[in-house]
C-alpha cells in the first residue's frame, strides 16, 4: 500500500490486544462500515413481501392474485396452490412454505410477492383477494389439550405437538419419606430474542451455481440442509453467505425459515435476486419466540433440607407451528433436575398447539424458564423448614464425580464454590434491613453428544498463508459473543504467535467446515477444541517443513521460530518453501475433534454433553410497599466456565445475559388478545434500557476443565439462567410472598402483598 497506514489503527489493535483481544471486525462495526443483512443490495434486486392471515384459524377458500399480477412492477406472485404441499419442519414436520388450505395464526404466510420496489410489493400484497372461512380457535395451551378444543393439525391429535413422560428413581418412596412437600404452579410467558437487526435475506438463483442466500445465521449449515430439502436442490447447489449479524441469542439458529424459503422461491420464479426483510412488527407477530410454559411442580424434602424427589407436570405453548419447541420443551423440563442431587424425579411435559405465533428458541433453551420454578420452590421449602437457602443449596448441589438423576456425568464442577462466592459477594451474612436477598444455581451443557449421535464434535482448518499470517476456517459463528477472538487466541497459543496474526473465516457454507453452529453453548468448548487440534497439527507441519529448509530441528519460542543452532526463520519463509515444494499448496492443519459416544439410552438417560458449566447468581432487591414495584439494587453473577479465554468479552457476555434475564424476570413477555400479539413493537414489548438495569458484578471461578481447549468451557447461554431464580427469590424475600407468574410486575407483587386471590 502506498498510503501510510493510519497510525491510530495500528496502535489501537496493539493496545486492544493487551487488555482483551478482539476481532478486527469490531473496528468496522464501531465505524459504521460493517455490512449487515439489512444493508445488502444487489444489482437487479427485487423486494419481496408476504401476505399474512388476518385470522387466527380459518380455511382458505380462494386466493385471487390477478389484480396483483397486473400491477406494473410486480415480477412474481406466489401462492400455496402452486407449491407441492409437502410439510417441512425442524423437530416435527408441520409447516408449508405458504398455507394451502388453512391458516393457523394471525400472521400465517398466505402469499408472497416480488416487485421492483417495496412500495409496489406492498401494493401488490393488498391487491391479493383471499376468501376465508373462519374456524373456532384456541389460544390457551391448557384449553388446547381438552377433548373439545378445535384441532389445528389433523395429523397431531389432541393438539399435542410433542410429549414426554419420564420417571427415574422411586418417586413414591421419596414422597412417603418426606417431612415436607411443597407445591406450586408457575407460569412463564413467550419471550422474543429481540435481536436488534430484523431478519433479512437476499436469495439469488443461478442456473450454474444454484441458490445463494445472503443472510446471517447461527447455524447456516442446518438451514442450508432444510432449504435444499424443501427446494429439492442438491445440497452443493445451496450456499449461505453470512453478512454481519445484528444479534442472535438463539433466535437466528434457524432464524425464520419462511423468509429464506420464500425469498428463494420468489428468486426462482422471477429470475432475479429477491430480498425479504421482516418489519419489527413481523418479527413479533410472525417471528419465532421461545415457548410460554405452565409448570406445576412438587418437591419432597427431608427436615434437614435433603431433597428427596421432584414431580413436574409441564404444559408448553407451541403456537401454530413447532420449529425447535419440542427440544426446548425437553431441556426446560429436565435440565434443572441436574443442578442438585435429586434421587427421584417424575416429569410429564406436553407441547400444545394453539392459534398463536409459532415458536422457536432463545438463549438457554428454556433452562432459564424452569430455573424460575425450581429455584423458587427451593426457597419456599427453605422458608418452611426454617433453613438457610444457601445451606440448603450447598447440601444438595452436584459435585465433581456425580452422575445426576438423568445420567449426566459431572466432571470439573465449581457449583458449590459459585454459590459460596455469590452469597459472600452479595453480603449474605450482613443483610441490610428492608432488603430482600435471593440466590439461585444453574447447570448448562457444552454442546450435545446426543442431538445427532453421529455428529458430536467439530472440525477446523488452520492455514499458514504465504505472508506468514494464519487463517482459521471454521463453521462456528461469531455475532459479537467474541467466539472468533477466542478462536484466534486459542490458535495463537497453540502456534505461539500473536492473535493479531490470525484471521477467522466462517461465513460461507460452501468453503467452511460443516458445523452444527452457534447453539447449545458448544462453540468455545467443542469448536475451540477443534481449533486447538488444527493449530497443533499445523505447528507440527511448520516444524517439519522448517527443519527441511534449514537442515536441523526447529522450535517456536516467544513468537520466534528458531533452529537449534540459533538460526531465525520467518513463518513466511516456511510457507513459501512449502508452496514451492508442492507447486502451490498452502500448509494446512486439520483439527478433527470427535468426542466419545455417549451411553445415552432410549429413555433419554445418559451423559448428554462433553462437560457442563455452572453458575450461581445472587440478587439484592427491595419492594416499594406502596406500589409493589420491584427495585433491584445489585446482581452478582458467579460463573464456572473453566479457564476464561478473554475476560473482556466474557464480562460482556455476563452483563448482556444478566440484562436479558433481568428483562424476562421483571417486565418482558408476549401479551395476546384473542390470538393477536398485543405488544408487537419495541415500545410495547419492553426490553431493558440503560436506565432499567441494576449494578451487575461478574465473578469467575476458574477451575480448569480438561474437556475444553486449554481448560476453558462455555459461558454464552448459562449467563441468563440463574437470573430468573435469583430475582424471584430476592423479590419473595423482600415481599414475604412468592409471585409465581412471570414477569414480576408491580401489579402482581402489589396484589400478592395485599393478599388478593386473583387469576393473573
Amino acid at each position: 500500500m502506498i498510503l501510510k497506514t493510519p497510525e491510530k489503527f495500528t496502535r489501537q489493535f496493539g493496545k486492544a490486544e493487551s487488555k482483551g483481544y478482539q476481532s478486527p471486525e469490531v473496528w468496522s462495526k464501531v465505524t459504521g462500515k460493517a455490512v449487515y443483512g439489512i444493508d445488502l443490495t444487489l444489482p437487479g434486486m427485487l423486494h419481496g413481501k408476504i401476505l399474512r392471515s388476518p385470522f387466527p384459524h380459518a380455511r382458505i377458500k380462494q386466493v385471487d392474485t390477478r389484480a396483483a399480477e397486473a400491477l406494473p412492477g410486480v415480477r412474481a406472485v406466489l401462492t400455496g396452490a402452486e407449491l407441492e404441499n409437502r410439510p417441512f419442519g425442524i423437530a416435527v414436520e408441520d409447516e408449508l412454505p405458504l398455507a394451502a388450505d388453512k391458516v393457523r395464526y394471525i400472521g400465517d404466510e398466505v402469499a408472497a410477492v416480488a416487485a421492483v420496489d417495496l412500495q409496489t410489493a406492498e401494493r401488490a400484497i393488498k391487491a391479493i383477494k383471499v376468501e376465508y372461512e373462519e374456524l373456532p380457535a384456541v389460544y390457551d395451551p391448557v384449553e388446547a389439550l381438552k377433548d373439545e378444543a378445535p384441532l389445528l393439525h389433523d395429523n397431531f391429535p389432541g393438539n399435542i405437538a410433542w410429549q414426554r413422560e419420564v420417571e427415574r428413581g422411586s418417586l413414591s418412596a421419596a414422597f412417603t419419606e418426606a417431612d415436607l412437600v411443597v407445591e406450586e404452579r408457575f407460569t412463564v410467558p413467550a419471550i422474543h430474542p429481540a435481536y436488534l437487526e430484523p431478519i433479512a435475506c437476499i436469495a439469488v438463483n443461478d442456473p450454474y451455481t444454484g441458490i445463494t442466500l445472503h443472510t446471517a445465521l447461527q447455524s447456516p449449515d442446518a438451514v442450508r440442509e432444510i432449504v435444499a430439502r424443501v427446494l429439492k436442490y442438491p445440497l452443493s447447489k445451496v450456499n449461505i453467505n453470512g453478512p454481519v449479524m445484528g444479534g442472535g441469542f438463539g433466535g437466528r439458529v434457524y432464524g425464520n425459515l419462511k423468509v429464506y424459503i420464500l425469498s428463494a422461491l420468489l428468486a426462482i420464479k422471477s429470475g432475479s435476486p429477491v430480498k425479504i426483510q421482516l418489519t419489527r412488527e413481523e418479527e413479533f407477530t410472525a417471528g419465532r419466540p421461545m415457548i410460554a410454559a405452565v409448570i406445576k411442580m412438587k418437591m419432597a424434602v427431608r427436615s434437614d433440607g435433603t431433597i428427596l424427589g421432584r414431580e413436574a407436570d409441564i404444559i408448553t405453548d407451541n403456537g401454530a407451528y413447532s420449529a425447535q419447541a419440542p427440544w426446548v420443551s425437553k431441556t426446560l423440563s429436565e435440565r434443572n433436575d441436574s443442578v442438585y442431587r435429586i434421587p427421584a424425579i417424575k416429569t410429564r411435559v406436553r407441547l400444545a398447539y394453539t392459534n398463536k405465533v409459532p415458536t422457536g428458541q432463545y438463549r438457554a433453551y428454556g433452562n432459564q424458564a424452569a430455573n424460575f420454578a425450581t429455584e423458587s420452590l427451593i426457597d419456599i421449602a427453605a422458608k418452611k423448614l426454617d433453613l438457610d437457602p444457601l445451606e440448603l443449596r450447598l447440601k444438595n448441589c452436584v459435585r465433581e464425580g456425580d452422575t445426576t438423576v438423568h445420567g449426566l456425568q459431572i466432571g470439573k464442577c465449581g457449583l458449590a464454590e459459585c454459590l459460596q462466592a455469590a452469597a459472600k459477594e452479595i453480603g449474605w451474612d450482613r443483610k441490610k434491613a428492608g432488603r430482600g436477598y435471593g440466590l439461585s444455581a444453574a447447570i448448562h451443557a457444552n454442546g450435545s453428544l446426543v442431538f445427532d449421535k453421529n455428529f458430536r464434535g467439530a472440525s477446523a482448518l488452520v492455514r499458514l498463508e504465504l505472508d506468514g499470517r494464519i487463517t482459521i476456517f471454521t463453521g462456528e459463528q461469531d455475532y459479537g459473543q467474541g467466539t472468533h477472538a477466542a478462536f484466534a487466541q486459542i490458535a495463537a497459543r497453540a502456534l505461539d504467535v500473536s492473535p493479531v496474526q490470525v484471521t477467522v473465516e466462517s461465513k460461507q457454507t460452501k468453503t467452511a467446515p460443516f458445523s452444527t453452529g452457534a447453539l447449545a453453548m458448544r462453540q468455545t468448548t467443542v469448536g475451540g477444541k477443534a481449533i486447538q487440534l488444527a493449530a497443533e497439527d499445523l505447528r507440527e507441519k511448520i516444524f517439519k517443513a522448517a527443519a527441511e529448509l534449514v537442515g536441523e530441528p526447529v522450535a517456536m519460542e516467544n513468537e520466534v521460530l528458531r533452529s537449534i543452532s540459533g538460526q531465525e526463520l520467518e513463518l513466511a519463509e516456511v510457507a513459501y518453501h512449502y508452496h514451492s515444494a508442492t507447486s502451490g499448496l498452502r500448509m494446512t492443519g486439520e483439527g478433527k475433534f470427535v468426542p466419545a459416544e455417549s451411553d445415552y439410552d432410549e429413555s433419554g438417560y445418559g451423559n448428554i454433553s462433553l462437560t457442563y458449566s455452572f453458575a450461581s447468581h445472587a440478587v439484592e432487591a427491595e419492594i416499594d410497599q406502596a406500589t409493589g414495584e420491584l427495585i433491584i439494587h445489585r446482581l452478582v453473577a458467579v460463573h464456572d466456565s473453566g479457564r476464561i479465554v478473554n475476560h473482556l468479552t466474557a464480562r460482556g457476555q455476563v452483563y448482556g445475559g444478566a440484562a436479558q434475564g433481568f428483562g424476562m424476570s421483571c417486565f418482558e413477555g408476549y401479551l395476546f388478545d384473542q390470538g393477536r400479539v398485543a405488544n408487537a413493537s419495541l415500545a410495547d414489548y419492553k426490553i431493558p434500557t440503560a436506565l432499567d438495569l441494576p449494578q451487575i458484578d461478574p465473578l469467575f471461578i476458574e477451575i480448569e476443565d480438561p474437556a475444553g481447549p486449554y481448560g476453558s468451557k462455555g459461558l454464552g447461554e448459562i449467563v441468563m439462567v440463574p437470573v430468573l431464580g435469583a430475582v424471584a427469590n430476592a423479590a419473595a424475600d423482600a415481599a414475604g410472598v412468592h409471585v409465581t407468574d412471570l414477569p414480576l410486575t408491580a401489579e402482581k407483587i402489589y396484589q400478592a402483598l395485599a393478599g388478593w386471590e386473583c387469576e393473573l
Partner: protein
C-alpha cells in the same frame, strides 16, 4: 407529497436532493445517499439504532421527515471516522468491549457524541439517561457506559474539543 429540492449540510458537505419531503431522513440517508452506517431497527422511533445528529442534537432519523432538515446540519457515523481517523469515543468503545453484534453501535456512539458535546464531563447517571433511547440487546450497557466515561476523560486529558 410532491417532490421538492432539499438542501442540507451532511457530514460537513452540502447535499442537494430532489425527494418527497415526507420521506424519512433514515431512508434518504440509507437508500438514496448510500450511508448504511445508520441502522434501521424498527423505523418507528423505538430502538435508537438510526440515531444521527441534527444541528448537534441526537435524533431518531426514522422520525424526521427529510423536509425538516432543509438548511440544517446532519452528522452520521461516517463523519466520525473519515480518512482512517477514529474518534476517541470509538476507540474507547473498542477498548472497553462495548461492541458486540454492533448493530446499535453507530447510534450509541452518536448519542454519546451528542452528550459529550453538550456535557464534556457527564456523571454515570447522565450517560445512562443520554443512551436510554438506544436499545442494545447484547451488552447490558455496562461496557458502553464505561467507554463513554473513559472517552470523556480521554478528551479532557487531551484538552481536545469533542470534534
Amino acid at each position: 407529497m410532491k417532490k421538492q429540492v432539499i438542501i442540507f449540510q451532511l457530514n460537513d458537505e452540502p447535499v442537494e436532493i430532489y425527494v418527497d419531503p415526507a420521506e424519512s431522513l433514515l431512508t434518504v440517508l440509507r437508500d438514496r445517499l448510500g450511508l448504511y452506517g445508520t441502522k434501521a431497527g424498527c423505523s418507528k422511533g423505538e430502538c435508537g439504532a438510526c440515531t444521527v445528529l441534527l444541528d448537534d442534537r441526537a435524533v431518531n432519523s426514522c422520525l424526521v421527515p427529510v423536509g425538516k432538515v432543509q438548511g440544517c446540519k446532519v452528522e452520521t457515523i461516517e463523519n466520525l471516522s473519515r480518512g482512517g481517523k477514529v474518534h476517541p469515543i470509538q476507540e474507547e468503545f473498542v477498548d472497553k468491549g462495548a461492541v458486540q453484534c454492533g448493530f446499535c453501535t453507530p447510534g450509541m456512539v452518536l448519542s454519546a457524541y451528542a452528550l459529550l458535546k453538550e456535557n464534556p464531563q457527564p456523571a454515570r447517571d447522565q450517560i445512562k439517561m443520554a443512551i436510554s433511547g438506544n436499545l442494545c440487546r447484547c451488552s447490558g450497557y455496562k461496557q458502553i457506559e464505561e467507554a463513554i466515561l473513559s472517552a470523556a476523560k480521554k478528551l479532557a486529558r487531551q484538552g481536545n474539543s469533542i470534534t
